[in-house]
């Protein structure tokens, strides 16, 4: 490309009046927010965000619906989900136990992408809408088959109050307590 010839104009020099005016302006903004603060900090354990139903939180198994297809274990991108074999009584022949495969999950590896829930042909897996569960050690984050069927206790909800974070046209981000038109 040929070089273009053009005139370059210098930026207009700021006068003293401009400087004084802009300093007063910024101080006025500071005083305005100081007198009337619009805080958006979430005081976390005291208030917690109420997440919507579609949120991809912890994944729970409904064992009855599982057909042992292993699609969830195959699609898992972080190899968090594995199939295990368990012996269980056969509903057709109660005297003879049978071998069946079920998924278990390792929450050290899970990235909460939700592929397993999407791919499950019988909707045996579902998400709960919370994410903040604390474990004392890494071993507890391996979920066996029994743990995988129970929703973990949501202790934040016992202490805090739920709020919903919304965008206001003038105020920006605001917190609305759930139940007051949330």
């Amino acid at each position: 490309m040929a070089p273009r010839i053009g005139l370059k104009s210098l930026e207009k020099r700021r006068t003293l009046i401009d400087g004084v005016r802009s300093n007063l302006h910024v101080l006025a903004i500071g005083v305005k927010y100081f007198v009337n603060p619009r805080r958006m900090t979430l005081v976390y354990p005291k208030e917690y965000p109420r997440l919507s139903e579609g949120y991809r939180g912890f994944i729970i198994l409904e064992k009855k619906k599982c057909i042992s297809c292993a699609a969830c274990a195959r699609i898992c991108p972080s190899a968090a989900m594995k199939m295990i074999r368990v012996m269980e009584p056969d509903p057709k022949h109660p005297e003879k136990p049978r071998m069946k495969q079920y998924p278990v999950i390792n929450y050290q590896r899970c990235i909460f992408c939700g592929y397993c829930v999407d791919v499950c042909p019988t909707e045996a897996l579902y998400h709960v809408n919370y994410h903040d569960v604390v474990y004392d050690n890494l071993a507890e984050m391996f979920w066996d088959l029994d743990t995988f069927q129970k929703e973990p206790e949501y202790k934040t909800a016992l202490e805090g109050r739920p709020v919903r974070i919304m965008v206001h046209e003038e105020l920006g981000l605001i917190k609305v307590p759930v139940g007051e038109g949330g």
């Binding site: 003293l16 400087g19 101080l27 500071g30 927010y33 100081f34 603060p37 805080r39 958006m40």
Partner: protein, 344 residues
């Protein structure tokens, strides 16, 4: 005469009382209060919460106490490469000398409680300004003794800033002397009487002196020597534990001492209270009024952190030499004009 009476007489002697009690203890409390206010005000303006969890009812005030305790018990690491004696002496000497101006400023018009004899009181503003110019030397010494590139750069930046603000500070304060025709701080305060504050009569000198205080104690728009993202902590990079706290506290103490001089020269001193006889009316209540005015100045300086960014070194020097120095000179001219038409 018992030992207790001797001790009481020494503590009660106005210069010692002013430096130790008003200066040292007062500025410790005020440093905590100012840092807390600085963080809370910046948080309010920037839509955050600031310190909170240490004491939710007090708005996180105990957070700063906890910080002080941590500084006091932290293990001070002294690198092998530093020049040991200046390294240790600089923060201590800087802090002590930062408080010395309080030994010469009067807190009352009652001659019984002046820290200086009346003949020396005639030059109290000059003496106070002369002492005010000393502590920055120790900041440079601290940076130089640290033997660390960041510290040396910070010290050099401080040296650049000193030559800019020192002239402005002194000329700004001398604007008050020009208005009233005296270097006697008592006479300057009494000339302001009631409502005729020099901050209103001579706003140019007041603004120059105020900005010079902001620059000299590296408050926010001019926090150039210690700017964290550029030079780690400037001259204080190698300090840790109590020595770092002394360095940081020294800046707040200098700000407090300068604010007291500003409150006396421009903000009407102990007025609206008229000092009378006796210890309470003659000394304690007037000094409380002066300290309250000084604290308001300190908190106003702390508030600037919420709204300003940091100037570059060249921008600060540009502002100082091109705008503030002519403004301080104009303040002196305005003061002389007002004195000549008899306004003050």
């Amino acid at each position: 005469m018992s030992l207790a009476e001797v001790a009481a007489a020494i503590i009660g002697w106005p210069p010692v009382w002013q430096v130790l009690v008003i200066g040292f203890l007062g500025s410790l409390v005020i440093a905590v209060l100012a840092v807390w206010f600085e963080r809370k005000a910046a948080a309010r303006v920037q839509r955050r919460l600031g310190p909170y969890w240490a004491s939710p009812r007090l708005g996180g005030l105990l957070h700063l106490i906890a910080d002080m305790v941590r500084y006091a018990f932290q293990y001070p690491i002294i690198p092998r490469t530093v020049d040991l004696i200046p390294f240790l002496a600089a923060p201590i000497a800087g802090m002590v000398i930062a408080l010395l101006p309080l030994a010469v400023v009067p807190f009352t018009s009652n001659p019984a409680y002046w820290p200086l004899p009346p003949s020396a009181m005639e030059y109290s503003l000059l003496i106070a300004l002369a002492i005010v110019t000393l502590p920055p030397i120790f900041i440079i010494a601290a940076g130089w003794a640290s033997n660390n590139p960041f510290a040396v750069i910070g010290g050099v930046r401080e040296a650049f800033i000193i030559v800019a603000y020192e002239l402005i500070a002194i000329l700004g304060f001398l604007g008050a002397a020009a208005s009233t025709g005296t270097f006697n701080l008592v006479a300057i305060v009494e000339a302001q009487g009631g409502i005729m504050w020099l901050a209103i009569l001579n706003p140019l000198a007041f603004l120059a002196a105020f900005i010079a205080i902001v620059m000299s104690t590296s408050a926010f728009p001019f926090e150039i020597p210690e700017s964290e993202p550029e030079v780690v902590a400037g001259p204080f990079t190698e300090y840790s534990g109590l020595l770092y706290a002394l360095n940081m506290g020294g800046a707040y103490m200098r700000r407090f001492a300068l604010s007291i001089i500003l409150a006396l020269t421009f903000l009407g001193g102990w007025y609206p209270l008229v000092p009378g006889e006796g210890l309470l009316m003659g000394y304690i209540l007037p000094s409380v009024v002066v300290v309250v005015k000084a604290v308001i100045v300190v908190l106003a300086i702390s508030f600037l952190r919420a709204v300003y960014g940091r100037y570059r070194l060249d921008q600060a020097l540009d502002l100082a030499w091109k705008i503030l120095l002519p403004m301080a000179l104009a303040g002196i001219a305005l003061g002389l004009f007002e004195a000549s038409i008899g306004l003050t």
